[in-house]
């Protein structure tokens, strides 16, 4: 960072005993390379002037105000642990899950360990067409032989091995030119062994004509989508598709109106979708209801329409409409010494690199504030010693980074026995036991 001031210490507080957040709990098990950033994070955490304090719930075990008393600056980067709801009748039926919870289930997030999703139906409908939706589709349809070598949780692996799901529809309100997924994830679906694409050619009318006016990323994505959806396959590919026992496809211009219940009214048996049409063009394209309605039979509904940040502490300003902390370049409005970065600052989109760069921005803002004197660092602050005293009084025992390394070793050891990179612990109590051993 060049000539910016260097803080004496940077302490990280995390609710769970384990670090890394979505890199551990969000990135799909079959994307291990994406998790390589853990090595960079580990180096940072092991830095002499950095310390990790897991198992500390900010807002409950220690308040943000108490942190501000102990530190010259506090940065909130706690992400988005809530999700946008569809807001339709039947959303509470059995068989309806948020992608956040479904992903948490196969990735070992402790609070989703008891999800036990019912995979006994033939058709699954996913609402949303971003990368998370594609991850869910891919995990539902991937051959178990591939999944069993990843760090997917054992209970998810067992459930998927017994799964009856053979068809996954990935449904979006707008058209093919508005899909939010990126090409890598789409290519993985196209190349997914044992599956074939099944889409309606009518939903792609007029799309090929737009290709020449598209920017490169959208153009390549749309070309691949068209190829999978409507192009007549070559002989080899045709044979492969005929042999495939599982199918996936995008459905466009459909918005959920209601999840239809089974006859015993307990579980999802279908979904009622409003048919849209598009108005406007370019960036201003909007989906508008036509009045038409379509019912799709399905037993599994997964809504993947976005994560949402939650309020961590009443003392922190929060924009409930946008679900972010109001800020200017990472400086929390009306609160000196308080900053934010990542999804809680900008909203829940972007890949790791996007969020990483955003964090660099906030860090730069903070250090510049110190350099300019707008952030006063002249008073002596107790730092982690002050917080530790409070936590001890409250019976909270933080987990250090080297404690995490014990959990890490144990998970790796358990995984090795099964030929997996790790077998994640699902229970916070067990994590703490291993951490203290």
């Amino acid at each position: 960072m060049g000539k910016l001031p260097r803080p004496e210490s940077v302490d990280i507080y995390e609710r769970l005993p384990v670090p890394f957040g979505l890199v551990r709990f969000g990135v799909a098990p079959d994307h291990p390379e994406v998790k390589n950033v853990i090595n960079t994070f580990t180096q940072t955490a092991q830095h002499a002037r950095c310390s990790f304090h897991g198992n500390v719930r900010v807002g409950k075990d220690v308040t943000v105000e108490e942190l501000q008393e102990a530190y010259h600056a506090v940065v909130l980067s706690y992400g988005a642990e809530g999700n946008r709801t569809m807001g339709v009748p039947g959303e509470d039926l059995a068989g309806v899950y948020s992608a956040k919870d479904f992903v948490g289930w196969y990735n070992g997030l402790p609070r989703n360990s008891e999800l036990r999703p019912d995979l006994s139906c033939e058709t699954a409908v996913i609402l949303g067409q971003g990368n998370v939706a594609l991850d869910v589709a891919r995990i539902l349809l991937s051959p178990v032989d591939i999944l069993k070598k990843t760090d997917i949780t054992q209970h998810a692996l067992d459930a998927l091995a017994e799964s009856s799901v053979r068809r996954v529809l990935i449904v979006g309100r707008r058209g093919p030119l508005q899909v939010a997924c990126t090409i890598k994830e789409l290519r993985e679906m196209v190349n997914l062994p044992g599956t074939r694409p099944e889409m309606e050619a009518s939903e792609f009318e007029g799309i090929a004509e737009t290709l020449k006016s598209l920017a490169r990323p959208r153009k390549r994505l749309t070309e691949l989508l068209l190829k999978a959806a409507i192009e007549t396959p070559g002989e080899e590919e045709l044979e492969r598709r005929n042999r495939a026992e599982r199918a996936w496809g995008f459905r466009f211009l459909r918005k959920p109106l209601e999840v239809l219940p089974s006859t015993d009214l307990i579980r999802a048996a279908g979904i009622r979708l409003a048919v849209n049409r598009l108005e406007g063009d370019g960036e201003g394209v909007r989906a508008v209801a036509t009045g038409e309605v379509e019912d799709v039979e399905c037993g599994l509904v997964i809504s993947s329409i976005g994560y949402k940040s939650l309020l961590i502490d009443p003392a922190v300003p929060f924009d409930a409409r946008k679900a972010i902390i109001p800020n200017t370049m990472g400086r929390v409005q009306q609160t000196a010494g308080l900053y934010c970065s990542g999804w809680v600052k900008r909203g829940p989109t972007g890949v790791i690199a996007t969020t990483m760069n955003d964090s660099f921005d906030t860090a730069r803002t903070l250090l510049q504030d110190i350099g300019k004197g707008t952030l006063d660092v002249s008073t002596v602050k107790p730092g982690s010693q002050g917080v530790s005293a409070l936590l001890e009084k409250r019976g909270v025992k933080p987990v250090s980074f080297s404690d995490w390394e014990k959990i890490d070793s144990e998970e790796t050891r358990r995984g090795e026995i099964k030929g997996k990179p790790r077998e994640k612990m699902l229970d916070v109590g067990e994590m703490l036991q291993v951490a203290r051993a």
Partner: protein
């Protein structure tokens, strides 16, 4: 992903043999011997960092531009987050047209990740996929400003 060719195994054996000789002769003629044997291997590369500053560096033939940045510990923020596994676009670099044309065809996998790179140009490559050879001696590599997601961050607002 390594781009070392099969016959580089032979080169490595030769290198090790020479290295042993070197250790012995180094005793007597250290500097001269080292520079004679190693000068053939090194490729000089000029990086223009995001702040416009030029970094002169050199590395062994066969190393990728990412390997070079890592080995030489160059101060390029956030470069190579996925460690060369084609799972990000943080090693995005911009080359001169001539150099770009010299390099081989780009795989779908690299192009897919390049699509996500901020400030993508017609002579952009991912540094982890560009391997140094004698042909690339003295090239200039520009590190563009910041990576970004191709989707706009304001595209998440509730509409219908």
């Amino acid at each position: 992903m390594s781009c070392k060719l099969i016959f580089s195994w032979v080169q490595r054996q030769a290198k090790m043999f020479f290295f042993c000789i070197m250790l012995f002769v180094a005793h007597l003629k250290r500097t001269l011997v080292l520079s004679l044997i190693l000068s053939e291997e090194k490729v000089t590369v000029y990086f223009i960092n995001r702040d416009g500053r030029k970094i002169t560096t050199s590395s062994a033939k066969g190393d990728s531009l990412l390997d070079l940045v890592v080995e030489q510990n160059l101060d390029i923020e956030g470069f190579g987050a996925c460690e060369g596994t084609l799972a990000c676009s943080t090693c995005h670099v911009i080359l001169d047209q001539k150099v770009y044309n010299q390099l081989g065809p780009i795989t779908d996998e690299e192009n897919d990740m390049l699509d996500l790179a901020f400030g993508l140009t017609d002579t952009s490559r991912l540094g982890c996929q560009v391997c140094l050879s004698r042909d690339l001696e003295g090239i200039t590599v520009r590190v563009p400003d910041r990576v970004n997601d191709m989707r706009r961050s304001d595209d998440t607002g509730p509409t219908l």
